[in-house]
């Protein structure tokens, strides 16, 4: 039987799905702050039950069950990852597990990770590894959602998470991220991270020039 926390997580993930699928709602929300916008339209993002009702969509039991499954399995994977040591270029149990969950749940996993990374506290080493994996995932259908999450994480309070988001964007190599990186560079206080972001920006600008020529 799921506990309150799991139910909250499930409903939260479902909200992300609904917002994603409803252009009217999503287009009215500035990419910079979904949470703030929810408060503005009278929805408390914590309980979320009311939000689902407000969306006017019915939520099928099977959808909720799938969301609960992916939520539970992702949390278990993240819990196990606490003991792992990560190295660039080297497979690990976390990324193997994420790849396996993605095969089964696809967007469901991306939504769950979006929720966890934006609204829950995750160990920054694990969060960084997830962002790097999201950046190199070869799946055009989820590119938009991954891009959104990586761009959002450029504003995270942790330098390591901001760096991982920037590296993930370099892997995606999508010029859409250019204004987000420019803004992140302007605001970045850590000199070394700023230089690393500038390297990513230079790559994306070269990609854009390449595509436009």
């Amino acid at each position: 039987m799921p506990n309150i926390d799991q139910i909250t997580t499930t409903l939260s993930a479902k909200l992300v799905l609904i917002l994603d699928s409803d252009p009217e709602i999503i287009s009215s929300i500035p990419i910079s702050d979904v949470k703030e916008e929810l408060f503005e339209i009278g929805i408390d993002p914590q309980p979320l039950v009311g939000a689902i009702g407000l969306s006017g969509q019915s939520v099928k039991d099977s959808d909720l069950q799938t969301t609960a499954d992916v939520s539970w399995e992702t949390k278990e994977l993240l819990r196990a990852a606490n003991e792992e040591v990560f190295e660039d270029g080297v497979d690990n149990e976390l990324t193997k597990g994420l790849a396996s969950l993605f095969e089964r749940y696809n967007d469901g996993l991306i939504n769950e990770l979006t929720y966890l990374l934006l609204y829950k506290e995750i160990n920054e080493e694990i969060a960084s590894e997830i962002l790097r994996w999201l950046g190199r995932l070869d799946d055009p259908s989820s590119q938009h959602d991954r891009l959104f999450l990586l761009e959002e994480c450029l504003r995270n309070s942790s330098t390591r998470i901001r760096d991982a988001a920037s590296v993930g964007l370099a892997s995606l190599d999508d010029a859409h991220a250019i204004p987000f990186l420019q803004q992140a560079i302007q605001q970045e206080q850590c000199v070394e991270l700023r230089e690393d972001m500038e390297q990513v920006l230079a790559q994306l600008e070269a990609t854009r020039r390449c595509h436009s020529s």
């Binding site: 660039d88 270029g89 497979d91 080493e125 942790s158 850590c190």
Partner: protein, 173 residues
């Protein structure tokens, strides 16, 4: 005098890196995760002081991985090892590039104090650099095409990524 190259994750080594509880002159403990010893030894590569073999070493190390990724590393003068009494032993490397393997060495007889001294050297004196994954991919593809890298030694996932991108020298002509 050659430079010592050690693979790291740069973000753990940022100075004043936005960790609220960390004092300005403190290095976060996670950085030591980049200096995990085995048998009290640590693997390094020797880069000449003109950096002429740097790309070749980075390419070989990246080609030894499971997948293409960005590659972060620290470079510092070999002299720094003498200052902290760390011995360097020349040993054969384990990359798919035989030449690069000859530039491999181990830092040996390491104690916990010496690892911390080494971390301090990397943090305060090393040049820390990053090759982004896009560039790594280009370098590995080029090295495999020119047979500088032994393709047969690539891991399966990497081989599947590289193979479609390789244009043989014959095809280029």
């Amino acid at each position: 005098m050659p430079l010592i190259l050690r693979k790291i994750r740069k973000a753990k080594w940022y100075k004043g890196g936005g960790v609220p509880w960390l004092a300005e002159n403190d290095l976060q403990a996670d950085a030591l995760g980049d200096l995990l010893t085995k048998g009290n030894r640590l693997s390094i590569y020797l880069v000449d002081d003109e950096y002429t073999n740097l790309e070749q070493i980075v390419t070989a190390l990246a080609a030894n991985c499971d997948y293409i990724s960005d590659f972060d590393f620290a470079l510092f003068n070999e002299e720094a090892l003498q200052n902290i009494n760390i011995k360097l032993e020349s040993t054969e490397g384990d990359t798919p590039d035989a030449t690069v393997n000859s530039w491999h060495g181990d830092l040996v007889e390491l104690t916990a104090d010496k690892v911390i001294a080494l971390a301090t050297v990397i943090w305060t004196r090393a040049e820390k650099r990053r090759f982004l994954s896009k560039r790594i991919l280009e370098l590995v593809v080029k090295a495999v095409a020119s047979q500088q890298i032994d393709r047969a030694r690539l891991k399966k996932g990497l081989m599947e990524k590289i193979d479609p991108l390789i244009i043989s020298p014959e095809a280029e002509q």
